[in-house]
Amino acid sequence: MASKRKHSSTKEESKAVVDRIILLENNVVSSQQNLNDVVDILSIAKSGNVETMFVATNSLGRIFAGLWKQGLLKRNKDGKTAASTVSDWLRGNYNEYIGILKTQLKHSEAAIQVAALKLLMQAVVHEGENASKSSGSYEFPNSLYLSILELILDGSEASDHLLRTLADSYLNLYDDLRYYFYRDVAKIASPDYDPFKSGKSGARTKSLVEEAESFVRNTFAVMGMIKVVPTAKEYTAFWVNAIPPTGDESSVSNAAAHRKAFSEAWVAFLRQPLTAEIYKQVLLSMHRRIIPHMVDATGLMDFLSTAYDAGGSISLLALNGLFTLIDQYNLNYPQFYEKLYALFDRNLLHVKYRARFFRLFELFLGSSHLPAYLVAAFIKRIARLAISATPSGAVTAIPVIYNLLKAHPSCMVLIHRMPGYEGEESVDAESDPYLADEADPAKCNALSSSLWELETLQHHYYPNIATLANIFSEPFHKPKFQLEDFLDHTYTTFFDGDTARTPKKAPALAVQPPTALLRTGDAISDFLVL
């Protein structure tokens, strides 16, 4: 607790205050005559230190819960009676209490934030029950809930702990909270949402950009933590459950309504300006977490195609989601292969996501109906990249090329060209017709080139790669490679693999033992003076 850090003198002080709070609370609970003491507790909650504030708000929570039960906070319609005066006064105090809680949500201590959230959620229950009772049907106090969510998501102060509590103890457990959460997120994120309508956060103007950033971050964190996906037929777990909702179209218990809320929330969220990191995170999980549960997945098409056009690793990541759309949602994506071809830039074999990319790539080029020129263009491109790649890149590229050649025998001319093949009179040895900088795979003339790169890899310094590259000189009798075995290699795995065993034999020594550190004529001695 925070109070532990205080000095002993303040400790004694706060102890006295706590005792007083308990005394006041007991007064209020014992008889309605002492309701005025609520004001005292409110003032303590507003002004006191962390510990007293905590105790005060808690006791207020208990007091107001009791008052809700007694119905004292219910709005009276019969005008100027004593009871209505009391309830108005109490409601004023109650609003003040809610206001205190909302400020506490932005408190620097995570524990206070969490406690405030819990009390606010209690308040949501009480208000909801009250509203349901008065109206006789299911009611959800969404205005309060919306303001709570807005405070949490917009605030840059929201701690991980708070977000986790929100997701784990409320959103993951209660369907109505989740439903309204999605709806509210969509509402907050929508461009025509006016934050000033609520009128509470006047400070909001000061840093809209900053707020948007924290909103995106917090929202993504919470939405990422929600483990329940909208797949159920019926929803029954409710936070506000005085009167269970009826099962009509737009109700909280309806499955379609949940899906709609989920879709709308995501679409609205993706419209926000995302940071690069969150962008990647979204793209990484999109095909698993988002697309399957969307009402209309094609709505994500714009987002994904924009991402796919962005280039670099973003494109690689978008590929997965895009593929899911093409594959399962019948998306027609023009010039898909041209864009795929463009992804093969010099970074491809060096980036982290290359394993993921090549898994998909194998799928894309798995069709045997692809034209040979296209496959040849890809093969040539991969080979070209492999000669400047690390061993881990080369060890991915070789099986990919082998599998492609195996699946498309018409591309075998790339590694074996004889005169008279397909009407060629003779083999033109003079120049390489391949155009490395041509963006269109149809025009790059890859099919009339040769894969000298692979022959070079047969002399790679790392013996395993050299051996692997030698398969192109052997008859193509081997079955296709399982790509999985080759994707996750790194320098470290290579190094560990080579040094794991203790050698049995003595290492071979040089024929001529050295007579100096630098040989005469050594490359190093050209430029280095010992």
């Binding site: 040094t499 290492p507 020594l509």
Partner: protein, 934 residues
């Protein structure tokens, strides 16, 4: 006997006629008793042989039905088989005889235990005459004796000497010492000169005494044995006398020689032994004083080392050829290893074991002679020389004078690393992150290991201590590095080299089996020492380093296994450090100057062209990981990178293997001089760089205003590689990077890159993808040449400008050549394979005897089964024949027994009958008498 001429003769008649024509039967010459005595019977032995042969011939020709002709499956021209035609009768006879000698004998001795085996010569040979037997036995006895007398035991038998004195202590025969009758010269009678030498029997002896001789010879034949023996004795006496004469002459000569030796001996031992010699000589000459002490001589001679027979020294040509062969063989093995083939198979076939490795052999041939104390002479520089050398050091280097050992300073500050770690988290594109996913506990353990190593490397070399101090000549072999430091801590670096040389001579591997361990210890210690020396700032002079490298190179062959393991561990440690640094994204990169130096050492000590090498391959991976993932933000890092690229070039110099990382690094470093770090499109080419790396490379960017101070290219220095010492960091944080990156330095780096590029062009120009790999370089060089001259090239050192130009021209030439010579790939041109057919195979000449089963293993099994059956049948047959034979023998015995019993009974009956008849006669006579009386 009748010699029937008719063709229809019975077999018996034929046999008889054949026997008579062969002269085996029919009227034999009458042999009298006297003749027999004289030796006709002796000639009979040869006759029996002859007879037997004749009989065999008759047997062979007699009955053609006894010949069984074995039919052949295939008629092979010129092939002769033993079993083409077998004489069944003969074979059966032979089998019966064999059974007689084996089973029959066994049967005879069935219930016998013990007994005496008669081994007397010829006792069981019925064809030998008693005379022959005796002669053979005598011969054997003589041989035995002569061999005994020639053996060393008999030679030095003192008892033999008794003969000379005339005392008869040895065995005699007819009053003559048997020992003197040592060859058969004495035996034969007359003794020709030429025969005496050879020890063979004289021609006359042969003609008279041998088998036929007695028959044909005239009067000689009649000599009795006694006469012969007498003659022998006379001869032997004569010989004895001759030998004694020769012996005396020898003695005289020997005495003369001894006298001469006295004078020679005096010359031999002129120094230390002269006094006793002289005294001995004078003693003998004067005849007074001490007698010539023969015993002392003998004792001296016993302890004097004798010359041993030695292998013939090789001529220069032979030695050269051997060396050439060795080199050729080593090169052949290297080639095989380069192709990834095991070189061991070849090694085994070679006579010498390559286990000691090629260089080990060189070692052997070089030091044929046992090293002795004189060997040290080469290293024993005169005291004055040593002093001079030390003085030189004092003048030139100063070598960390006044630096004392500093211990326990942590050079890595943890905070920096943590900061960098956060940075790397954001730049997650690069592979460094995926690579650096090592588990945290491993990561934590590294600094613990590294700290003492650092400490050790930081050890200062105290060179000032004792240049005047004399070096002792013997040392204790250092077992570990601490011992070494204790040993040489007070000597200068040059003296340390001498110490190493002396240690190597002292603990030469031939001197003791334990020295192998000591020398390999020394090798490891030197490796560590090299690491320490290369960390020194200011750097240690090159000759010292080279000297140590030379020693390591030669000592590595002592125990390559241990040395290799040590090096492997060094690489693994270094990898851990580098990986840790990459993960942390630290600027220093975790690589030390000593690591670089050791890697350079490994590249030349080990056979770096091997396809897979337990040290070199991990080392290359480590280097490449560093080159491709490290962020080169300091001059030290870039220098390390360049030197590492040089090491890569050294390892692939022979094998010309393709190392893309080295090219990427070179191109990126070249590009860094002119490309703008902010614009990624400017860095075209095949070298992927992260934003972070690009920004770090800004260090090398040659700005517009920058000018070189000197017109000469600045060479890189080893000191650039050495990480700043923590002490200096504390002292002056501002000047921590010792070398300020001025334009000179940048041009120096540019020049180094160009030189390395040129080397790699040379190595790779034969590569099929040479064009693909080096076209980016061409563009890059064009860009450099285009951008630099505008404002800066006039400031650049002339050498670099020239180098740039020549490299460009050279590369263009090479690329043109490569384009012209490149042909499309034909990787799939394999030997055509036959198309599989399912048509049944048709045999034009099918035979039941031939097995057409295509299954090889089944065929073999059938063959084996058939062999087993055949063997079993043969064994059963043999057993049956044995049983038949035994039954026959038993029957024979039974018959014999019955017959002898019947005879016995017959005899008894006849006696009884005779008695009875006598009795009856008597009775009758008595009755007659009685009747007559009556």
């Amino acid at each position: 006997m009748g010699n029937g001429k008719g063709t229809k003769q019975s077999a018996l008649k034929k046999l008889r006629s054949a026997l008579s024509t062969a002269g085996l039967t029919g009227p034999t010459s009458h042999v009298t008793k006297k003749d027999k005595k004289r030796g006709i019977a002796k000639a009979g032995s040869s006759k029996t042989l002859e007879r037997r042969q004749k009989l065999r011939a008759i047997q062979k020709t007699l009955n053609p039905f006894e010949m069984q002709v074995n039919r052949k499956h295939l008629d092979v021209l010129g092939l002769k088989r033993k079993d083409e035609a077998v004489n069944v009768a003969v074979a059966r006879q032979r089998a019966v005889e064999k059974r007689k000698s084996t089973i029959g004998e066994e049967r005879k001795n069935k219930h016998r235990t013990g007994g005496v085996v008669d081994r007397r010569i010829g006792e069981n040979d019925p064809t030998m005459d008693p005379e022959e037997k005796m002669l053979k036995r005598f011969t054997a006895e003589r041989q035995k004796r002569s061999s005994m007398s020639s053996s060393s035991a008999a030679l030095y038998n003192l008892e033999d000497g008794g003969d000379v004195e005339g005392e008869i202590t040895s065995l005699t025969h007819y009053g003559q010492s048997i020992g003197d009758m040592d060859d058969f010269n004495d035996f034969g009678g007359d003794d020709d000169e030429e025969d005496a030498g050879t020890g063979a029997l004289g021609g006359a002896d042969v003609s008279t005494a041998h088998f036929g001789g007695f028959e044909t010879g005239g009067p000689d034949r009649k000599r009795s044995k006694a006469e012969v023996m007498q003659e022998i004795i006379a001869k032997s006496k004569m010989h004895k006398q001759e030998r004694q004469l020769i012996k005396e002459q020898d003695e005289d000569i020997r005495r003369e020689l001894d006298d001469d030796f006295e004078s020679v001996r005096a010359m031999l031992f002129d120094d230390d032994n002269s006094k006793p010699m002289q005294s001995a000589a004078t003693g003998s000459g004067d005849g007074d004083g001490a007698p010539p002490s023969y015993d002392t001589y003998v004792r001296e001679l016993v302890y004097e080392q004798r010359a041993r027979p030695q292998d013939r020294l090789k001529t220069e040509m032979e030695a050269a050829r051997e060396e050439k062969d060795r080199l050729e063989r080593a090169e052949r093995h290297r080639q095989r290893r380069m192709e990834g083939l095991p070189s061991d198979s070849e090694m085994d076939s070679d006579s010498d074991d390559e286990g000691q490795s090629a260089s080990g052999k060189a070692y052997k041939t070089k030091n044929k002679r046992k090293p002795v104390a004189d060997d040290l002479g080469d290293d024993f520089a005169p005291a004055g020389d040593n002093d001079d050398a030390d003085d030189n050091i004092m003048e030139t280097g100063g070598l960390g004078l006044g630096l004392t050992a500093e211990a326990s300073e942590e050079e890595e500050d943890e905070e920096d690393e943590e900061d960098d770690e956060e940075e790397s988290g954001s730049g997650s594109d690069s592979e460094a992150d995926s690579d650096s996913e090592i588990d945290s506990d491993q990561g934590e353990s590294v600094p613990d290991d590294a700290a003492p190593a650092n400490q050790a490397l930081r050890r200062r070399i105290n060179s000032s201590a004792s240049q005047s101090e004399d070096l002792p000549f013997t040392f204790e072999a250092p077992g570990n590095y601490d011992a070494w430091v204790e040993l040489v801590g007070s000597y200068s670096l040059e003296q340390q080299l001498t110490v190493v040389a002396r240690l190597r001579a002292l603990y030469h591997i031939r001197l003791s089996p334990q020295n192998k361990q000591k020398l390999s210890d020394l090798c490891l210690v030197l490796t560590e020492h090299l690491a320490v020396l290369t960390e020194q700032d200011p750097p240690v002079p090159a000759p010292v380093i080279d000297g140590i490298v030379k020693h390591i190179g030669e000592l590595a062959a002592v125990d390559p296994e241990r040395f290799g393991e040590h090096c492997r561990q060094a690489i693994i440690d270094c990898h851990k450090r580098v990986q840790q640094a990459l993960k942390a994204g630290s600027v220093e990169g975790g690589l030390r100057a000593s690591d670089v130096a050791l890697m350079r050492l490994f590249a030349s000590v080990f056979s770096s062209s091997d396809r897979f090498h337990t040290v070199i391959t991990p080392m290359l991976i480590l280097i490449c990981q560093y080159l491709s993932q490290h962020t080169f933000a300091t001059l030290r890092g870039i220098s390390c990178g360049l030197v590492l690229t040089g090491i890569v070039h050294e390892t692939i110099r022979l094998s010309r293997r393709f190392v893309p990382e080295a090219l990427n690094f070179l191109f990126a470093t070249l590009a860094a001089t002119v490309c703008h770090s902010a614009d990624p499109a400017d860095w075209d080419g095949q070298y992927p760089l992260s934003r972070r790396q690009r920004e770090a490379y800004r260090l090398l960017h040659i700005g517009i205003a920058e000018k070189c101070k000197s017109k000469k290219a600045l060479p890189m220095r080893w000191a650039w590689l050495i990480s700043p010492a923590p002490s200096s960091e504390d002292a002056s944080t501002a000047t921590t990077p010792a070398v300020v990156v001025t334009a000179d330095v940048k041009y120096g780096v540019l020049g180094a890159c160009l030189m390395l590029c040129r080397r790699f062009i040379d190595s790779y120009f034969q590569m099929p993808a040479f064009i693909e790999c080096f076209e980016p370089l061409q563009r890059l060089l064009a860009k450099i040449a285009e951008r630099l001259p505008k404002f800066r090239l006039q400031h650049a050192p002339v050498e670099v400008v020239e180098l740039l130009e020549t490299t460009r021209v050279y590369l263009t030439e090479q690329l043109e050549q490569a384009r012209a010579s490149r042909v499309p790939l034909k990787l799939q041109s394999h030997k055509p394979l036959a198309i599989g057919s399912f048509a049944p195979k048709f045999e034009s000449a099918y035979s039941l005897d031939v097995h057409y089963d295509p299954d090889r293993s089944r065929n073999e099994i059938t063959k084996l089964r058939r062999q087993v059956n055949k063997e079993r049948r043969g064994a059963v047959r043999e057993l049956r024949r044995d049983a038949q034979f035994v039954a026959g023998e038993r029957l024979k015995e039974m018959r014999e027994k019955d017959r002898s019993y019947a005879d016995k009974m017959k005899k008894a009956w006849s006696v009884l009958e005779a008695d009875q008849s006598e009795m009856k006669k008597l009775d009758k006579a008595r009755i007659k008498e009685r009747k007559a009386k009556v």
